[in-house]
Amino acid sequence: MSDNMKRRDFLKGAATGVGIGLLGAMGLYSYSPMRKSNFTQAERKMNDIGVCKSVKVTNISETSWFENGILMGDIKGAGGLLVNQYDYNWPPFGNGKGLGKGSYEEGIANIKHLLPNNLEEAWDIIETNSVHPENAGGYAALVEIEEMNGNKHKYLLDVGWSYKWCDECFKREGIDKMLENKEIEALFFSHEHFDHFWGLPVALKYDPEITIYIPEGFYPEGLQYIKDCGHKGKLITVKTGLNKIIPGMASYVFAIPIICRVYGEQSLYFNVKDKGLVSVTGCCHQGIIRFAETAYSEIKYEKDKFYGIYGGLHISPFDDWDPKYDDLVISLGNYGFERIGCNHCTGILCAKKFIAAGYPVIEGTARFRSKDKAYLGNGDIITFG
């Protein structure tokens, strides 16, 4: 055999062997317990966000829409959950062209001159031009935090969707007066979704100078809407990651893609003296367990304990279901939360599964169009600490 033949044979064997060795190692090692030696245990950062005495959350509205069937019919008709939210032709950006044919520019042109002070007239126009304006509700919450020295702070988390519904809810809970009196220090937007953000003129009607915090990732239409609504205060775009606000309170921005072409979510952490960590969320698209795990790796909190949750947990917002949601229901018990106030996009079925699993769900009163006591409903209050 010539040297050339020998070299060719060696190469043939080597080429085959590389594949066998590589695939063999992939198959035998990649999912074996041995692989865990490759994982580095990230050191806990233990960021000190301070501590507060207590947190109180008033549910202004959790009913973002009133009928799942109508909302999902719109989504289906317009082309699904990936369609840009400004294109559905939902209120307030109706242009009269029908489902799926809307646009921010055409919609806002009809009402811009009426924002934020003449919302009743604006809503009349919106009702004429939009798809299913009667189904629009909104998500908004008042968060009150008491510092250790007794100082109290009030913040709004989101402002809902329908001008009409949100104004009613603001008046019902006295938010209108608080805004007028400048008692509310800032407005935090959890994300850009219609049901959390589009009701902005209602808040600005009462306090156009309020400071607004948005998570990075807002699209150009959303940024323009803040201007078009007549906002005159400070606008702070919060970067991805942890952002301390006041002692005992921080927000955290997650860079995540969300349905209806939205990007990024901001949620709130509170460190309550002698109790532990409290999570307050708009929709929690990042997932409540991811939120808890992030707190574990990033923040120092009392008793190293997860204490409470309030808000939408975005599990089955349309009362849909998927086995992966059962993974959450099964796993949540491992985190030891002592008070769970859930609503909005959690899904009533999910809340009931939590209750059936024996989790400490704080049930509500099912008033003001909230549908089930498994939810901490509209007008209900939850306190932590």
Partner: protein, 472 residues
């Protein structure tokens, strides 16, 4: 005796109209243009029909792939006659055969799955039946039934070609069409149904409340091993099987299984070897995510959820299929000048590099033109849909249209066909056991293992340096 398309793909000679890489680049340009136009018409959430809901679009896309595999690989173009295949203009052939494939597609979904199975067997195949359940909206009824139907397709898209590629159509390889086609179709459909019942049916059984203990295993048996109750665990390895079948058939030329002389040993080794390679891929691609993003945490959503990680394994696998098919369809399975194992290794390396580049490019840019969402883990982000849609267009172009217009189809002469067979036999005979081959094999295995451990060592820092989606 009428000849249909038996051996048509093998016995056609595709002659380049232009020299060099121009035909491949021109074909890429044309097919990408067709892809984008049809994507806009059928799938794009901003387009005309907006089928990317995502499951509806995914279901049609996936089943269309299988129908074309059935028509070409299982039925050998029957009932289209050989003369017509050789003489009809590619545009006419492409239009007619595409229309037939779409007709079968609609019949299968609307009549067989939704009409027959959904109305008389399993309600979850029919959205109208699901809508009768309390609390289920029309949108999710359609999505759930599309999910069930497409899961069946995922399994069939592995088993249907596997019976031809691995099992060499046995035991019906000598039958005429359509008897051979129907025999293979019945068997692979039956096997798909069995695999469906033990992989995806338990997923569907816990999709509703309360869990359907009476009709499915709940929680599913894979829960502890896969760290999730979701059927995405199975989607992952089945998707890998689909990809590996085509790697074996195209850039690997069925190597190394074609070295086995005994027919049944070769067929069994091929069939189970494909599964074994797919499982290796399945576990490695999951591990790769753990290395780059951190360990999955059960109960989380999105990128940290085990169920999504398994799904993403399938999504990553599809990125390997696209360059492999391009090399095979448009680059003449380059290179061919070395020994078969070296050719296979070079093609695999090219595919690997191209797949990684495509993955990075897709996640960096696709949201800018496909109407999809930025990010890896959006629940409606399914790279499998655009990738399979592109593959479908390539199948139409390569199988139904003979790569027209950049290539011209000329039937091979009997001598040319015999010469091809002889070349193939010689290429296989060229790989025979010698002490030097054994030494090379041992050296290669060691190199493969070393390469694996270097890869897993380097992956976290390489991934961090690339930073595909800033902010993640």
């Amino acid at each position: 005796m009428e000849r249909f398309g038996e051996g048509y793909l093998e016995e056609r000679k595709l002659v380049k109209r232009w020299s060099g890489p121009i035909p491949a680049l021109a074909s890429l340009g044309i097919t990408l243009a067709v892809f984008y136009i049809t994507w806009w018409i059928f799938q794009d959430p901003r387009g005309v029909m907006r089928m990317y809901t995502p499951y509806v679009g995914y279901m049609y896309c996936r089943w269309w792939l299988i129908i074309m595999i059935w028509m070409v690989y299982i039925f050998n173009f029957w009932p289209f006659k050989r003369k017509w295949l050789e003489t009809a203009h590619p545009l006419i052939k492409g239009s007619i055969m595409t229309a037939v494939s779409v007709g079968i597609l609609v019949l299968l979904i609307k009549v067989f799955f939704e009409g027959l199975l959904g109305n008389f067997g399993l309600a979850y195949f029919n959205p109208n039946q699901l809508e009768k359940l309390p609390g289920i909206t029309s949108f999710f009824a359609i999505e759930y039934s599309a999910l069930a139907i497409l899961m069946f397709a995922a399994i069939a898209s592995w088993l249907s070609p596997a019976w031809v590629v691995a099992c060499e159509e046995a035991p019906w390889q000598d039958l005429k069409q359509p008897a051979k086609g129907f025999s293979i179709l019945m068997l692979t459909f039956f096997l798909s149904m069995v695999v469906y019942f033990v992989t995806m049916h338990p997923h569907m059984g816990i999709l509703y409340h309360p869990w359907q203990y009476f009709t499915s295993i709940a929680p599913p048996y894979w829960e502890q091993f896969a760290d999730t109750v979701s059927g995405n665990f199975h989607v992952s390895w089945i998707m890998c099987c689909t990809v590996v079948v085509w790697l074996v058939e195209t850039i690997w030329e069925r190597y190394p299984f074609n070295l086995i002389k005994n027919d049944w040993a070769r067929r069994s080794a091929s069939f189970f070897g494909i599964i074994a390679i797919a499982l290796a891929m399945h576990f490695f691609l999951y591990f790769a995510q753990e290395l780059t993003w951190g360990e999955a945490i059960r109960g989380t959503r999105r990128a940290f959820a085990p169920d999504w990680r398994w799904l993403h394994v399938g999504e990553m696998a599809i990125f390997f299929l696209v360059p492999a098919l391009f090399v095979s369809f448009y680059c003449g399975n380059w290179p061919k000048k070395y020994s078969m194992p070296v050719n296979v290794l070079v093609r695999t390396a090219i595919t690997l590099v191209a797949a990684i580049a495509l993955y990075i490019a897709y996640y960096k840019t696709s949201h800018l033109f496909l109407g999809t969402q930025k990010g890896f883990s959006h629940p409606q982000q399914f790279p499998m849909i655009p990738m399979i849609w592109l593959v479908n267009i390539w199948l139409v172009h390569h199988w139904f249209m003979d790569n027209w217009p950049a290539w011209k189809m000329v039937p091979k002469t009997a001598e040319e066909i015999e010469e091809d067979h002889e070349t193939h036999r010689a290429a296989i005979a060229d790989v025979r056991w010698t002490p030097r081959l054994g030494a090379g094999l041992g050296f290669g295995i060691a190199m493969g293992v070393i390469f694996y451990f270097i890869t897993i060592w380097a992956l976290p820092s390489v991934y961090a340096a690339i930073n595909i989606i800033p902010g993640k």
